[in-house]
Symmetry: C2
Subunit: 358 residues, 2 copies
Amino acid sequence: MRDEKKTGSGSSEFDFIARIRRQAQKRISNLDSFSSLIPHPSSLILGIGDDAAVIRQRSGLDSVITADLLVEGIDFDLDTFKTSPRDIGHKALAVSLSDIAAMGARPRWALLSIGVPQTRWDSSFLEEFYKGVRALACLHDVTIIGGDISRTPERVVVDSIVLGEVLRGRAVLRSGARPGDRIYVTGSVGGAAAGLNILQQGSHQQTTRRRTRAQRQLIQRQTRPTPRVEWGRMLCEKKLATAMIDLSDGLSSDLAHLCRESGVGARVEAGRVPVDSLIERAGINESDALPLALNGGEDFELLFTVRPRAAAKLPDKVGGVPVTHIGDVTGDEGKACLVEGGRARILKPSGFQHFKRS
Amino acid sequence: MRDEKKTGSGSSEFDFIARIRRQAQKRISNLDSFSSLIPHPSSLILGIGDDAAVIRQRSGLDSVITADLLVEGIDFDLDTFKTSPRDIGHKALAVSLSDIAAMGARPRWALLSIGVPQTRWDSSFLEEFYKGVRALACLHDVTIIGGDISRTPERVVVDSIVLGEVLRGRAVLRSGARPGDRIYVTGSVGGAAAGLNILQQGSHQQTTRRRTRAQRQLIQRQTRPTPRVEWGRMLCEKKLATAMIDLSDGLSSDLAHLCRESGVGARVEAGRVPVDSLIERAGINESDALPLALNGGEDFELLFTVRPRAAAKLPDKVGGVPVTHIGDVTGDEGKACLVEGGRARILKPSGFQHFKRS
C-alpha cells in the first residue's frame, strides 16, 4: 500500500523537480529583501528547470565554490541510528556552508545532487530531506538553484554544492598565518564526536529511550551541526582573520592543514581548548574528553588566526557564539605541539580519514 | 602485494588531493593562452587545496552552473561491462559539459566529487578516472578547481559540477521556441542506446571478442560521448538558437521538456531523424533503429530551434559535426507528433526515467 502523499507515488523525478522548483521560486521572489555586507551581489537569472542555472556576475566580487559528498553508511546512518531524512538534509547543506564560512564568504546559492534507491523514492524521504535543506538555506538567505536526482542500487548519497560571494581579494585562505599570530576557535569542540559515540553505543545496547538530556544534545551536535557563517563573514569583513579553516576532520588534523598551507607551526594549550561542556554533563570520562575535542571532527567550528595587535578588536561573541584563544602560531614549520601540565608534546594529526593507509 | 604506483598505497586522500592539485596548477598556469569569444573572462584566484575555490567575477558575464550525478550499477558498470575508469571520468565530465553547451555557454571550471570503496582506492582507479576527466577538460580549456573525495561502502559514485560563462543575458534557455521555428539536432541519434544494448547482450553471451568494428564504435558512443560544446557556443554567439536542450533522456523526452518550457508543440518527420549510421552497419534490425533514435537517450547531441528567417545562416557543420532539420515547432501546446509514411502519430516521451511510476 502506497501513501498518496509520498514522493514517488504516481510521479517521476520530473514531477518532483517541478515541485522543488516552485518552492525555490518562492524564495527567489524574496531575494532582494535582505541586507548585506556586499553592496551589489550577483543575481539569479535562472534557477531549477533548464540544463543549468544562470547567475549574473558583478565585478568587485569573487565567487567561492565548494562541494561535499555524504554517503549513507559512511557519513550518516539512516537505519541503525535512526537519523531523520530532515537531519541529513540539514547536515549536507551545513557542511558546505561551513566551508564557505571558513573562506569568510557569504553563501548565496546551493545545488544538491542526491541519489536514492527506489524504496526511498517511494517514501517521504526526499520531501523530508529537502525540508531539512530548505530550513537551513532559508536561515542564511541561500537559494537552491539546481542539482541532480538519480537512482542508486542501495544507499543514499548526497553531494552538496554551495556558491558564495566575497569582496574582491578578501577571501580568507588557509595560508595567511604568520609566527606570532594567535589561534582561536569558535564555540566548543568534541561534542559531535561524543554524539557519534553515543549513537554507536546506543545501536548496540538499545538504550535509545534512556538517554539523558545532555546525551540527546550531543547527538544533535553530530546530526545538526551549526555552520559559523556569521563568524566567518565578520572575520572577513573586519579583516581580522589572517588564516581560517573549518573543523571537519578534527582540530589536530585541521590545524595541521592550516600550518602546512601557511608554512608555520603551532603551540596549543590543552587547558584552553573549549571542550564541549555537554561531554562532562553526559557522564563521559574526563580522560576521554580532550581526545574527543582534539581528534573528534565534525564540530564545524572555525579555527582561525589573528595578528596579536588586532586581537583586541575581536568580539567575545558573534550571534551568541563565543570564541577562545587556544594558542599561538610558531615559526617551527609543520610542527604543532600541545602544552599540557607544563609539558609540550607533538600534536599528531589524528582526525578523520576516509581511507586507511596500507 | 600492493603496487607502489597505485593510488592508495601508503597515502591518504590528502596526498591524493595534493597530487590532483599539482596537476591542476599546471593547467592554471596556461590559462591565459587561449582565444575566446568572451573578451574578459573570470579568472581563478584559488583552486584545489583550501576550504573552497575562488573565482574572480567580471561584470558583463553570466555564470552557468550544472551538476550531474552518476552511480555505479545505474549509470555505468565497471564489472559486467568492463567499462574503464578512464571512460567513466570522460563520461562524468562530458555529461555536464553537454548541459553547459545546451545553454550556449563556454565551460570554464569543474568540480568532481567522487566516492569510491576502499578496494578501488587501493587500485589505480582514481588515477585512471582523473586521466579521463583531465583529457576531456584539457580539450575544452576547462580547469578542475575542486570537489570532494569520500569512501563508499560498495559502489563508485561521481558528481560532476561544471561552471561556464556566457555573455550577459545571452544564455539559450529551453523556453524560447515559438510556433514556426525549425527544429534541428546535431550529429546523429540512437548510437549510445544501441551501444548499451550491445554491452548488455555481450555480458550474457560472452561475445566480447567477436564484436564487429561497428559494434565497438557504438559502444564508444555509450561510454565516451562527445559534448557539442562548439555547436552550443556558436549557436549562442550568432544568436541563432531560440531554445536548446541536450539529448540526455532521449529525443522524445527532451523534445517534450523543451515544448513544455516554451509552451509550444512540435511536428517531427521520422524520415529526417538522423539515425546513427553505425546502427545499420552493426546489423541491428531496421525496425529497432528509429525507436533507439527517438527514445534511447545519452546521445548528448543538441536539440535546438531556429527562427525560419535565420535558418539560412545556420552552417552545415561545426567542427565536422553536421546538423539536421528534423521538423518544426507548432502552436499545439504540449503535443509532439511524429510524421511517418504520411501519417502523424503522437510522439510520446519514452526516454529514460530513473524512477518507475507506481
